[in-house]
Amino acid sequence: MGNMPFVVSMLLVAIGFLTLIARRNLIKLAIGISIIEMGVNLFLVSLGYVRGGIAPIYTYAPPEAKTMVFPTPQALTLTAIVIGLATTALMLAFAVVIYRHRGTLDAGKIRELRG
């Protein structure tokens, strides 16, 4: 069971990649990338999981506590979530602008830049 979070996170990454390959709608592409991001974030946060570990704050630690978790993976995940928010917001904003120009979100029909 110990590897389950890693399996699930890589499954999420795979689902995201499948979305990118199978879908042509720009919003769905953004969703696919978002799913990959969530998979990676789950991967990062599960790296730092310690069974029975407590938050790494010395002054608040109960005396019987033995293990503390290392705070770095959580800090990494938080940063990655914020970056993911910015990229998703920017992609959706561009999708809206493209829709205003073309009246469609179908990537197959937006062919001006091919070749």
Binding site: V13, L20, L26, L29, I33, I36, E37, V40, F43, L44, L47, F70, T72, P73, L76, T79, A80, I83, A86, T87, L90, M91, F94, A95, V97, I98, H101, R102, I110, E112, L113, G115
Partner: protein, 508 residues
């Protein structure tokens, strides 16, 4: 204050990008003065760091420590984020400084106030801060953060002209590729962290032993960085982005792409230089490089959009750099050293030549309103300076002596020939084809009878183009001087500087 130069070079443009928007409410003059101050200070810091790195060796700056030199704890374990600038990082910092200054000088008169010049200036500074961060950082996760800073700023700049239909499409495509590349890098960072409990590049470099997980992480890192660099088969975003972005942003985008090449060098030679120094990686990168050159040059032949034509030229130059990096990784030393000298020297030559071409394309677009080769022609009568600059940039791009592109490409051909004559022949052929393409573009745009009136570019834009033209000519006339002074230390940092890099960060 010079002790703090590495962090100031990143923090000043980063804070400046946001404060610029506030200052722009006061008055436009103050905003311009503010932007100039930030640019002057940032480039001065980048030059100061470079001088220190070239004369005193690797510069280490620990963030959040009692003193900036305290990069490890008592047990010899690095817990802080460090900035590490060796010869290669210093060289990339100089390229970033050059392109950033040129882009700012150009954009004061290129962007129009009513189309959102405040945001354009601000994003430019943000992109600049991200590039400097990428090349100065010594921490893998920090590198990912700066990678994403450049991605977001770059894509916002590519989609700057939201009132046209093509730039948002280019920006969306680029954003998708950049984000995917960034996420691959992040997975690799996670794997390495999970394996070694560290994010410090030097510390990881010491520990990496070549386990299957290490190989997986190397594959993911290279994959993500090649996507960011725009190598075949992930090159589709690059011509769109270069072709549609405002001209001054493209110059910095080229530097951003080169920062990805820098990262490939750092990963292959510093991070994995101890355990996985097999020539297979080199051959892989070299073959991707030659594929990029060929595909980009062949695509350039059929373009009728001047911006996209130059953009494919830019992608092909990137292929030459990858080829050089690959050959350098095949033979670490000997002709590999020649290859790396050529590749690293080609970075600054390419930034100047391609940058100059993009600036001219921007000036043409501003003067005529179109960059369709079928409707252009005879612009040389009105745009004399631009025509001269375009010819200079085109010849430098194609590698005609005595311009700078020849000096670096010759080193790449020579060393590639020693590794594989077929690759060298293909690279040379592609270069000849590229010459034909850019000369045809020059002829179609500037020569012929005067078909329409065009107003020449304002002086600020000409000055920006002049700086790059000066770099092209001076680097072409005295390549030996510059290779010895600024390129050779970078090459030594790649090939033999690994021990010094690790020792500077970890002590001992």
């Amino acid at each position: 204050m010079l002790v703090h130069a590495p962090i100031l070079a990143i923090a000043v443009p980063l804070l400046g990008a946001f404060s610029l928007l506030g200052v722009s409410y006061i008055s436009r003059t103050w905003r311009n003065v503010w932007a100039c101050l930030i640019a002057a200070f940032t480039s001065a810091m980048a030059v100061a760091v470079a001088i220190r790195a070239y004369t005193e060796g690797v510069v280490v700056y620990a963030l959040g420590a009692a003193s900036p030199t305290q990069s490890v704890t008592a047990g010899g374990f690095p817990i802080r984020i460090v900035l590490v600038v060796d010869g290669l990082g210093a060289f990339m910092g100089l390229i970033a400084a050059l392109t950033g200054v040129v882009a700012l000088v150009y954009c004061f008169q290129y962007l129009r106030e009513e189309e959102g010049k405040n945001l354009g200036l601000s994003l430019l500074l943000l992109l600049w801060a991200g590039i400097l961060g990428m090349v100065y950082t010594g921490d893998l996760f920090n590198f990912f953060v700066f990678l994403e800073v450049t991605s977001i700023a770059a894509c916002a700049l590519i989609g700057y002209r939201v009132w046209e239909s093509r730039p948002p499409e280019a920006a969306f495509k680029t954003m998708a590729m950049y984000t995917l590349g960034g996420l691959l890098v992040l997975i690799a960072v996670g794997i390495l962290y999970g394996e070694y409990d560290a994010l410090n590049i030097a510390y990881l470099g010491k520990l990496i032993a070549g386990s299957p997980l290490d190989r997986l992480a190397l594959g993911l890192l290279l994959g993500g960085l090649l996507m960011k660099a725009g190598a075949v088969p992930a090159h589709m975003w690059a011509p769109d982005a270069y072709g549609e972005a405002p001209a001054m942003a493209t110059v910095v985008l080229v530097a951003n792409t080169q920062a990805a090449i820098y990262a490939i060098l750092r990963v292959v030679f510093t991070l994995y230089g101890g355990a996985l120094a097999s020539p297979g990686i080199g051959w892989l990168i070299a073959s991707l490089g030659i594929a990029t050159v060929l595909v980009a040059v062949l695509m350039a032949v059929v373009q009728r959009h001047l911006g996209r034509l130059v953009a494919y030229g830019a992608v092909s130059q990137l292929g030459y750099m990858l080829l050089a990096v690959g050959v350098g990784a095949v033979a670490r030393g000997g002709f590999g050293e020649v290859a790396l000298t050529g590749g690293i020297f080609h970075m600054i030559n390419d930034a100047a030549a391609v940058g100059l071409l993009f600036l001219v394309v921007g000036a043409v677009r501003r003067a005529v309103g179109s960059v369709d080769l079928l409707s252009l022609g005879g612009l040389g009568h009105a745009l004399r300076w631009e025509a001269g600059f375009f010819l200079l940039g085109a010849l430098a791009l194609a590698g005609i002596p005595p311009l700078n592109g020849f000096a670096s490409k010759f080193l790449i051909y020579e060393s590639t020939f020693r590794a594989s004559p077929i690759l060298a022949a293909l690279a040379l052929l592609a270069s000849i084809l590229l010459l034909a393409v850019v000369v045809r573009a020059f002829q179609g745009t500037f020569l012929g009878p005067r078909v329409r009136e065009a107003s020449p570019a304002p002086r600020g834009m000409l000055v920006a183009m002049g700086i790059l033209a000066l770099v092209i000519v001076v680097f072409g006339l005295f390549p030996g001087f510059f290779i010895e002074r600024i390129v050779a230390p970078a090459v030594q940092a790649v090939l033999t500087g690994r021990e010094a890099y690790l020792a500077a960060v970890l002590g001992g």
